[in-house]
């Protein structure tokens, strides 16, 4: 069986500066795969390239066996690949519900209302505040909304870009638990994080990125116990 997402020798550059220098990795169905690394390692660039917001200079991206390297961003969403962008990027002046409906923009089927219910089940606070402009939310609530919104496109693969950024430990735990819940419900997840501990604990597989290249890979547990990772990301010596 081929992997759900296959990234091969991906290179992305901003003008002359190469941000991603030929990385390859796979995400299989049902997995939670974590990409970890420091600021500027190329994690966000990788995600943005996969979802079609950036074009690679070389390499290929295959999703469910189909080459999507040059497919337009809005068509990629329709294929079942959702991207919850860095910094959440919720629509601040729209209500929670309008935000969620926009998540389902690419869909034309009749199941949207059912998925709205599912999103409210996942995060009951969203139902409570469905009529509130999303810009009035706290960071954690905005992150919940961003995840709920991404789920509204009913993705097979959900890409989360630093969901724990700027959140309190409690809220971060809540978000990470939801990642596991989503995995159990059958969504494959590609998780980009600076918080290595949280990201690797739940990952079936992990990759460590450093200045545009993958320097380490393995199962979540392996990476967590690896001396290099412990030194570089978990602050132990």
């Amino acid at each position: 069986m081929s992997a759900m997402l296959e990234v091969k020798d991906l290179e992305v550059a901003y003008g002359k500066i190469k941000a991603v220098k030929g990385i390859s990795f796979d995400v299989n169905e049902g997995e939670v795969v974590s990409l970890i690394g420091t600021n500027g390692a190329g994690k966000t660039t990788t995600l943005r390239t996969i979802s079609g917001l950036l074009r690679p200079t070389s390499g290929s991206i295959r999703f469910k066996g189909k080459d999507i390297t040059t497919v337009e961003a809005h068509d990629i969403v329709q294929l079942g690949l959702a991207h919850s962008p860095e910094g959440r990027r919720i629509f601040p002046r729209l209500t929670v519900e309008e935000n969620l409906y926009l998540g389902a923009f690419a869909r034309k089927d009749k199941g949207i209302d059912a998925d709205l219910e599912a999103a409210y089940e996942l995060f009951p606070i969203l139902r409570e505040r469905r009529a509130q402009p999303a810009g009035t939310f706290s960071g954690g609530e905005q992150q919940m909304l961003a995840m709920g919104r991404a789920m509204m496109s009913r993705p097979q693969l959900l890409m989360l870009d630093e969901p724990s950024m700027g959140l309190s430990p409690i809220m971060m735990k809540r978000i990470m638990t939801t990642v596991t819940t989503l995995q159990q419900q059958g969504t494959t997840i590609l998780l980009v994080e600076q918080n290595a501990q949280a990201a690797l604990k739940r990952a079936t597989k992990g990759y460590v990125l450093e200045v545009g290249s993958i320097v380490l890979s393995g199962t979540g547990a392996e990476l967590l116990s690896s001396d290099d990772v412990r030194k570089a990301y978990l602050g132990e010596d």
């Binding site: 979802s51 917001l53 337009e72 961003a73 809005h74 990629i76 969403v77 329709q78 991207h83 919850s84 962008p85 990027r89 919720i90 629509f91 601040p92 002046r93 729209l94 209500t95 519900e97 309008e98 409906y101 926009l102 998540g103 923009f105 690419a106 469905r130 009529a131 509130q132 402009p133 810009g135 009035t136 919104r149 496109s153």
Partner: protein, 574 residues
Amino acid sequence: MSRRILPDSVRATHGPKAPWLALAGGILFLLSGLLSWSYDDRILGDLSIRFYPAGIQLYAMLFGVIGVILAVLLLRRPPWLSPARGLRILGTTGIVFVVWIIASVAYQSGGLINANEGGWVALVGAVLLTLAGHLSPEVDIDVRRWPRLSSTLEIVIIVVLMAILLFTVAYTLDIQDGVIFASFLIALIGLAGGLLGTGFGGYLGFIGANNRRPLLLAAFLVAFLFPFTQDGSDANMSIATQVLIFATTALGLNIVVGLAGLLDLGYIAFLGTGAYVAAMLSSSGFATIGWKPPFVVVMLIGAATAATFGLIIGSPTLRVSGDYLAIVTLGFGEIFRLAMFNLDGNNGPDLTNGPNGIPAIPDLELLGFDFGEVHTVAGIPLGRFSNYYFVLLLLLMFVMLVFTRLNNSRIGRGWVAIREDERAAEAMGVNTFGLKLLAFSVGAFLAGLAGTIKAHQDTSVSPDQYVFLESAFLLSAVVLGGMGTVVGVLVGATILKLLPEKLREVNDYRLLVFGLLLVVMMRFRPEGLVPSKRRQLEFHEEDQELSELLQAEHLQAEHLDPEQLEPEHLQGAK
């Protein structure tokens, strides 16, 4: 939103006197109508006679009547009305009204000495009314809790209001003197604001929102009946057709600017494209193309040509950020004008007759109906401009339909997302480039459509009709009225076209006044006169009250017919 100018201590000690102050103000205003306002009897419809009120003196007395009503309301303190707010609007506008007239008297008759006692008495009255408004306590009103009337009664109210509107408009347009016209407009704002500001306006807006269909129908009925109030005169109808063309074009621009959030500084060129196509294909002796298809075909060709131009300049620029589009459209507008100026046979093909343009475009003839002739319906003659008025009104209805349909569709939601955050919208699967291009070309199409009629109505096209200033005016109509709303743009377009026509006195200073108006607007009401609630939030994000209002409407809308789920409710006076 309460405005507290006076300190709380003053309000506490002098608050109880407010109703009496208001009463005194109202009586002074009433009295002033019986007094002389001007020593000179040749100006402003003769305000020199005592105890025999004419035009402006009658308006002043109306201020008095409303003032007394509000004073009585203030005494009785009904918990569901806020007379204080009405008084503030009435008083402030009253001051503007009186000062305007005193200044006009002084200016026209050569000195302040010619302003007689009536104006000064009224000025004191206006100040008293304002003071009373600021001294009285604010009442928080929620019109949603007012008793609901039966739906028939609500519709009757709408019809009556629309009839009043029709007669007011007809009366207003009949005022020939510019100063009296302006003073009547100011009085109208004050009187309506004074009455509606108490809470009635909000209630009427609420009734309107619950009866959108009848309201729309009544509004169009009024618009259709308007030519019948003119008794065959073309003077006002000519202005009305100009307003309609301007409003239709501005509404098309509002799709581009207000809905999709794209800044187009050369929109007039699309109107010009339609007009030039219609002129070239008309049976004018100066038409440059031998083919003379029926007008319906001409309309489609004109609109399609405009849309094609839209696609051509849109597709390279819409991929990059918005600033480039503004500059490219600005350039396109000028290129269009210069191209029309130069395609005279000396340079390139002879299409436009260069600076002379194409004159002598004949009147339209549709299904045997000659637009140039006077037709008599029910004993009332309807002239040439009335004929164009009707067809333009149909076009305006069509553009309104396109506007609201698009706005309430999936496409409209995509535009909202693009306006809010284009990158995030893209990640959500919104085809940002496609939707922007769609907005741009639909806008161009509609302008082209309007242009084909404009060519026949004006009977000529020439390059100097399509200068940058016209694009700027269109954009101002959109911004002034309220981006993204239909009613707002209609109001904005009417103000911008009607006032310069009626106020010939200030015509030389038209741009100065207009510029001042825009600066004042941007300072005090950047969201426009009739904004959509969402736009309002964009400009007043810190406004908790507004955010809650939006929330309440959203929750209420969940229990209503989805047809009513439009973002811009017809608002009454706030």
